[in-house]
């Protein structure tokens, strides 16, 4: 048991480190603390770095070489990401959804011509993709979507609304899940397309979140025309196609969520503040809570190490991502609420008026979103219970009934 690379991994890490050292942008600018993205300059930098990585085969290390990858292993990808992070670059890029989910879906279902057209621009960061699955009526029930695609000769006409679309405002293309048969059971009437986000009838509106941030969008479709050639998979097979996309979502390993607000920051605050009976860090109740959160953070960190070990041995990653999101979101909410309590009346202030520039206030405002986005606490527990522990599904009333006969509460 050790934390060392194997000789092969060490060699790859050295090679990557050299390459990054030579090629990395001199000044990297990340997004801001809780995942919002910067402006145009940030975009230009991201694109330039993406292009360099693509040129060297590092943009998607696990992809086969024919698609611009290295044909490498998942652990090599992890090593590259670590070295990028060490250089203060990488992380939350605008290309993640396209390269992580949309393009792999096209690879599974589309022919050479289409792949020849779309893969490379995406890999080089020239074209950005978004994923258009979620709808207002859907929520956790993704397949409950109602956006309608109707056949019109060689085209389809799309009407409806998507929501929670990350990056829609700067995306060039989108992977769009629609309902083409309202008389079929829920999972059998869906069809997948891709389309240009510049198509007539597509309107993108940013969603302002409760925290004030705008990371997501609503996308409205009014008589949007999509040629049948942009269909992905068979008619009525949209759910199977979507599962391919969603499976790729699971492969993200490790941290970064929670805006870097964790025990070290709380320790710093507790050292700084005075309570009735002395420094907060000497208060037994404060210490107990710090310890509770520390063992959860440490547990997650070493779980990531175990996952990387599994990857290094060529095994598949497990449900670690679900565990991490569940634990991190709850911890962020509890820990930041507690920090505000420590700050006393001043905890109600924020920004420059609050201790540590309001970091804990920001965390506290962001936490409810983190508990929902990308799978609610409840859905994640279902996933762990059903996929890991093999517990039976809840009773499903929506399996064999025509979609338009399902109760919907509206």
């Amino acid at each position: 048991m050790d934390f060392e690379d194997t000789p092969e991994e060490a060699a790859f890490r050295e090679q990557v480190r050299q390459w990054i050292h030579t090629n990395a942008p001199t000044q990297a600018s990340g997004g801001d603390v809780l995942g919002e993205r910067g402006g145009g300059e940030w975009f230009r930098q991201q694109r330039a770095w993406q292009a360099k990585k693509a040129e060297a085969g590092y943009a998607k290390i696990t992809w086969p070489k024919e698609f611009g990858g290295l044909g490498g292993t998942p652990i090599q990808q992890v090593i590259f990401n670590q070295e990028e992070a060490r250089g203060g670059i990488g992380g939350n890029t605008p290309f993640a959804i396209g390269l992580g989910m949309c393009i792999p879906t096209l690879m599974a279902y589309c022919g050479k011509e289409i792949l020849g057209r779309y893969v490379k621009p995406a890999l080089y960061g020239e074209e950005i993709w978004c994923q258009l699955f979620s709808e207002p009526a859907g929520g956790s029930d993704v397949a409950g979507l109602r956006t309608r695609a109707e056949r019109d000769g060689q085209d389809w006409i799309v009407n409806g609304q998507k929501i929670w679309t990350t990056g829609a405002q700067f995306s060039d293309y989108g992977l769009l899940l629609t309902r083409t048969d309202f008389n079929a059971p829920k999972h059998k009437g869906l069809t997948m397309f891709y389309l240009s986000m510049k198509s007539a009838g597509v309107e993108v509106k940013p969603i302002r979140q409760a925290s004030g941030a705008s990371g997501f969008n609503e996308v409205f479709f009014s008589d949007v025309r999509i040629p049948d050639s942009q269909r992905v998979g068979e008619i009525g097979q949209g759910w199977q196609v979507a599962l391919t996309t969603l499976m790729h979502e699971r492969l993200a390993v490790g941290g970064g969520q929670g805006g870097g607000l964790d025990v070290p920051q709380l320790l710093a605050l507790a050292r700084e503040l005075e309570l009735e009976d002395g420094p907060a860090i000497r208060n037994a109740s404060v210490r107990e809570k710090i310890a509770d959160w520390y063992v959860r953070s440490a547990g997650l960190k070493y779980t990531t190490y175990r996952t990387m070990t599994a990857l290094s041995r060529g095994q598949q990653p497990g449900p670690e991502a679900s565990i991490a999101k569940l634990v991190v979101a709850a911890k962020l909410q509890e820990l930041s609420a507690f920090a505000l309590e420590l700050e006393g009346e001043a905890g109600a202030l924020k920004g420059a008026d609050a201790p540590m520039h309001g970091a804990f206030q920001m965390g506290w405002m962001a936490a409810p979103g983190l508990r929902i986005a990308g799978g609610t606490d409840e859905i994640l527990r279902n996933v762990i219970a059903e996929r890991v522990l093999g517990l039976p599904q809840d009773v499903r009333l929506d399996k064999d009934v025509p979609f338009n006969q399902l109760p919907s509460g509206r």
């Binding site: 979620s134 409760a210 505000l340």
Partner: protein
Amino acid sequence: MNFDFSDEQKMLREQARKFLSGKRTTQSARRILEGTGGYDRELWKDVAEMGWLGTAIPEAYGGLGLGPLELCVIAEEMGRALAPLPFSSTVYLFTEAVLLAATEGQKRKYLPSLARGELIGTFARVERAGAAAPKSIRTSFRSGKLSGRKIAVSDGMDADVGVVLARSGDEPGERGLCLAIADLSGAGVSRRVEDSIDPSRKHAEITFDGAPAEPLGAPGEGWRIAATVLDRAAVLTAFEQIGGADVCLATATEYAKTRYAFARPIGSYQAIKHKLADMYVNNELARSNAYYGAWALHTASAELPLAAAAARVSATQAFDYAAKEMIQIHGGIGFTWEADCHLFYRRSRELALGLGAQRSWKDRVVSELETRNTA
């Protein structure tokens, strides 16, 4: 056994609820949240006309001459309504401090205008982050002049007058502390709005630079009076918190009945159902503790410190849980700016912090239990 509000008090509650729900106060709170104004001036006038500002002010000073129980009833409705008013600062803090410690002359000077809504008051205590312990108070009050800096003063931008906790003597700790009433728009006072997690209630930093002020109560009594004012305010605020928590429960329950996922109302899933049951249990326990606080206020019982601390801790826990889980039950839509959920989430934390953190109040619970030698 008569551990409930009277029929008259319940009628007052009904009346207040009907009145406030007609005023669309949540929308008004949102306007304040997004804007720069400090409170809803129209609503303030209405509330003054209803006489609510003088609920607990004796008739001799222009009030309704009702008691703390009636004020509890109104507080609960203010909490339900998220009313964007300097109500708690003026009524629970400033007015209560005057009723508790002022001279006859001061009462005649302040109470009638307070009852008419012509005077907005607040209580400026805190000077730093952390616990607001006596040793943290450095603002001085000597020869009728205040100097120092207060932070996180609720409604501090709009208040005309403020009770200020200050140091008047050389004695260390709480024995050197006193209270003073200052004209906040007068000479030697400057103020600045502070960024806050709940901008539907504005907070201010107030700097005193030799500002004239008059003493409230005896020198050396400042901390003791402040503690009693906070105890009383804690009970009233507990009712506000319960009002808020009840709205969260009702809103989330209604949503859970009508929102479908996988062809079933989400309220039929145990994860949601049990969350709502827990919310209900918390709210009921908090309500019962608050009732006991109201009884202690009403009877001027020696139990007040324990009853107030328990009411505050219980109500804070209830509103905290209800507000955060209301968002969770709503899912994504609950975390949008347009949904009202975040107004309650913000307010829950603002109320939790405004009179000092739970930690301090919990400590108070145990100190009180210790003096009772319960065992």
